[in-house]
């Protein structure tokens, strides 16, 4: 009953209007981002489907006319672009939506007729620095259509048939196979890597946010009680110190779980928005020769999840349970660490910076595991990174995916040991005088002594 009373108080402190507002805000942000991404990707898809060719024709020859007519016959929409002299930027002023075009200079038709290699200019406009902004067809569609026309024309001149030309241009039939551990699938490695990257991006972000939020809430909870001296009042009542700390940890864990759930839902809707339009109908709808570039850029994402399953890269229910267990242990480690850090606080200023050690312990392994394999690091660095308990949380998913079960269990075992050790010290600290007398004032030795003296009044 007394414990429930304590737990209710801790929960009511953590679950307040601000917290509920931030949860709703988080979901809303993910939802909006998901929708924005969906519209951005569907724009790319639409463009790939459209088969619009942009040409700036400066050559009045019959061959060019024939070429344009043949494009029209094949169902392409021709956008004739005009340029003021050599100023290619002027074309984009007149055509706001234009992303690129091909200039057919004077003498193009003559060169083709003489069987020479004609010259064309490809003009593209940089749309922005964002990943998706330049992922559009630009002049590539037009260029490949012109190339196809010219090579057919040259082939005709040399007496090469259409079929022969196709064989020459694409002489190999390549079937890609990708191997993971002892399994293989008929799929390109690039597509597998892209899909894995998309999939593995979500969990680490949730882990980082969860650890930060949980630590901050527990550190603030303990430090506020210390600063306001409500902790002294609480510890002088007939409840055990163990139940005070357990209530705090449990409340923080419950709120963490709530946050995790909300973030999972948010991220799922975000990624669904991002992937949705790409995975749906583009495969069937892409024009044969016009959207090579878009096809290339999107092919990775388009590859089926079937291949992942075949390669054993799709996690089963038991794997998810294991990841859940590891996430739980991770949260427990960060809670135990937060108790110690919260106890070190002696003013509201230091309460804000006290989360820094945890931030570092999360960011370093997150960044490293995002870009490289920890095992590929130099020996000393490798052991330093592995010594950080949160590293094993970030490597858990890939360890389970790639069948490195020994590494997974070793990591989990190490985390349990770290938790036991940190929790032992946290409890020892909380049950001793130090919870009221300890403080950390780095580089302020005299101040520390002063604050100790006032507590010793």
């Amino acid at each position: 009953m007394k414990f429930i009373n304590l737990l209710k108080k801790e929960l009511s402190e953590l679950i307040n209007k601000q917290m509920i507002f931030s949860l709703i805000f988080t979901i809303a942000i993910f939802f909006i981002m998901g929708n924005v991404m969906e519209s951005a990707t569907s724009e790319i898809v639409e463009e790939a489907k459209s088969n619009k060719l942009s040409i700036c024709n400066m050559d009045d020859s019959d061959i060019v006319k024939e070429m344009i007519d043949s494009f029209k016959e094949n169902g392409s929409e021709i956008n004739l672009v005009t340029v003021e002299g050599d100023n290619y930027a002027s074309a984009f002023k007149n055509h706001k939506k234009l992303k690129g075009f091909v200039v057919i200079p004077k003498g193009f038709g003559e060169a083709v007729e003489k069987g020479k290699k004609p010259e064309v200019y490809s003009v593209s406009k940089v749309q922005g620095a964002a990943a998706f902004s330049n992922m559009t067809s630009g002049p590539e569609n037009t260029l490949s259509s012109v190339t196809l026309f010219v090579s057919q024309k040259l082939a005709d001149q040399k007496g090469v048939s259409k079929e022969q030309l196709l064989t020459i241009e694409d002489p190999l039939t390549v079937t890609e196979h990708t191997v993971v551990a002892d399994k293989s699938a008929q799929v390109s490695m690039g597509s597998i890597v892209t899909k894995l990257m998309m999939q593995n991006m979500v969990l680490p972000i949730i882990i980082v946010l969860l650890i930060m939020m949980t630590s901050q809430s527990l550190i603030s909870s303990i430090s506020n009680e210390k600063i306001d001296k409500t902790l002294e009042t609480l510890l002088s009542t007939p409840v055990s110190r163990g139940s005070v700390i357990t209530a705090k940890m449990l409340a923080a864990a419950i709120v963490a779980l709530l946050n995790a759930g909300v973030m999972m839902v948010g991220f799922t809707s975000y990624t669904a928005g991002m992937m949705g339009s790409m995975t749906s109908d583009i495969t069937s709808a892409i024009p044969q020769d016009a959207a090579e570039s878009a096809k290339g850029a999107l092919s990775g994402i388009m590859s089926s999840g079937e291949a992942l399953k075949q390669l054993g890269l799709q996690l089963g229910a038991f794997d998810y349970v294991l990841i859940g267990v590891q996430l739980f242990i991770t949260i427990m480690i960060c809670l135990a660490l937060s108790i110690i850090l919260g106890a070190l606080v002696n003013d509201s200023k230091s309460a804000q910076t006290m989360i820094l050690p945890i931030v570092m312990m999360v960011m370093i392994p997150w960044m490293i595991t995002m870009f490289t394999d920890v095992n590929s690091l130099p020996t000393a660095a490798k052991y330093v990174i592995y010594a950080i308990p949160f590293t094993h949380t970030f490597t858990a998913m890939s360890n389970l995916m790639f069948g490195n079960t020994t590494e997974f269990w070793l990591g989990l075992g190490y985390q349990i040991i770290v938790f036991a050790v940190v929790m032992f010290f946290a409890l020892k600290l909380f049950k001793s005088d130090k919870i009221l007398t300890i403080s950390l004032n780095l580089g302020q030795k005299s101040k520390f002594k002063k604050s100790r003296k006032t507590t010793e009044d």
């Binding site: 009953m1 009373n5 108080k9 409500t230 002294e232 009042t233 510890l235 409840v239 009044d457």
Partner: protein, 246 residues
């Protein structure tokens, strides 16, 4: 009269500082005892040891017969402690705070309600109890905390600077309340204060502590007579200065 508190040679050594050195005194049932001393004298350390917040390096104290070392949980059932400049949970309303604190002393709902009713009456905050503590003035918080400290009718209420932050009228009200609770309900009080006037008015006996030593204990009149001083302030001055000479 039976002793509610018996402090026996209580000592506390921090790494370099001896904050309390063999402090001994006792408080009888219904008695108000005040510990007075300059800053850093060891008042708060002694009070914190009796409140089971700090573990003594040597000595012991018995609260209603329970040792603070061997049975701290029993001691906590008999005491309430109000730290100096203590705050309360700002997000809670006054009434919720009282219910929460009462819930730590009893699981019986009737008892809990009677504690809260008593606190409501004592603090005199009326409808403001339904407001969040964050909106209270310092004086209102102190009244709420004092009401909380006495609502469970503890055998010993330990109040560190009970009237700090209160205006004159409120302070007088609190002093009267302490005297009434001791006289009518037999509650014992261990106070600490810098305000000699307050101590002289409210306490039955005082103990002057300096540099961790409890120099002298006695009734205010006794001490004034012994040191031939017109008031407790002069007694305090002489005792502290004598200790500095030694």
């Amino acid at each position: 009269m039976a002793n509610v508190l018996e402090v026996k040679e209580l000592s506390k050594q921090y790494s370099k500082v001896l904050a309390a050195d063999k402090v001994s005194f006792e408080i009888a049932e219904g008695e108000i005892f005040a510990l007075i001393g300059p800053n850093g004298a060891g008042k708060t350390t002694t009070i914190r040891m009796i409140s089971t917040l700090l573990t003594p390096t040597a000595g012991d104290a018995l609260v209603a017969g329970h040792s603070i070392i061997k049975a701290p949980e029993k001691v906590r059932e008999c005491i309430t402690y109000l730290p100096d400049e203590a705050g309360a949970y700002k997000q809670m309303t006054g009434i919720k705070y009282l219910r929460f604190m009462a819930g730590l002393f009893t699981s019986d709902l009737d008892k809990l309600n009677s504690y809260v009713d008593r606190a409501k009456e004592i603090c005199g905050l009326g409808d403001r109890l339904n407001d969040k503590i964050g909106s209270y003035s310092r004086g209102m918080i102190r009244k709420l905390l004092l009401a909380r400290a006495v609502m469970t009718k503890p055998k010993l209420a330990i109040l560190d600077e009970p009237t700090s932050g209160l205006d004159v009228l409120n302070a007088i009200e609190i002093r009267k309340m302490i005297k009434r609770l001791a006289a009518e309900e037999g509650m014992s009080f261990l106070l600490s204060s810098h305000n000699m006037l307050e101590i002289e008015f409210v306490s039955d006996r005082v103990g002057i502590i300096s540099k961790g030593h409890l120099m002298v204990t006695g009734r205010p009149e006794e001490l004034k007579a012994r040191y031939e001083a017109p008031n407790l302030e002069n007694v305090f001055e002489r005792v502290v200065k004598e200790n500095e000479v030694h």
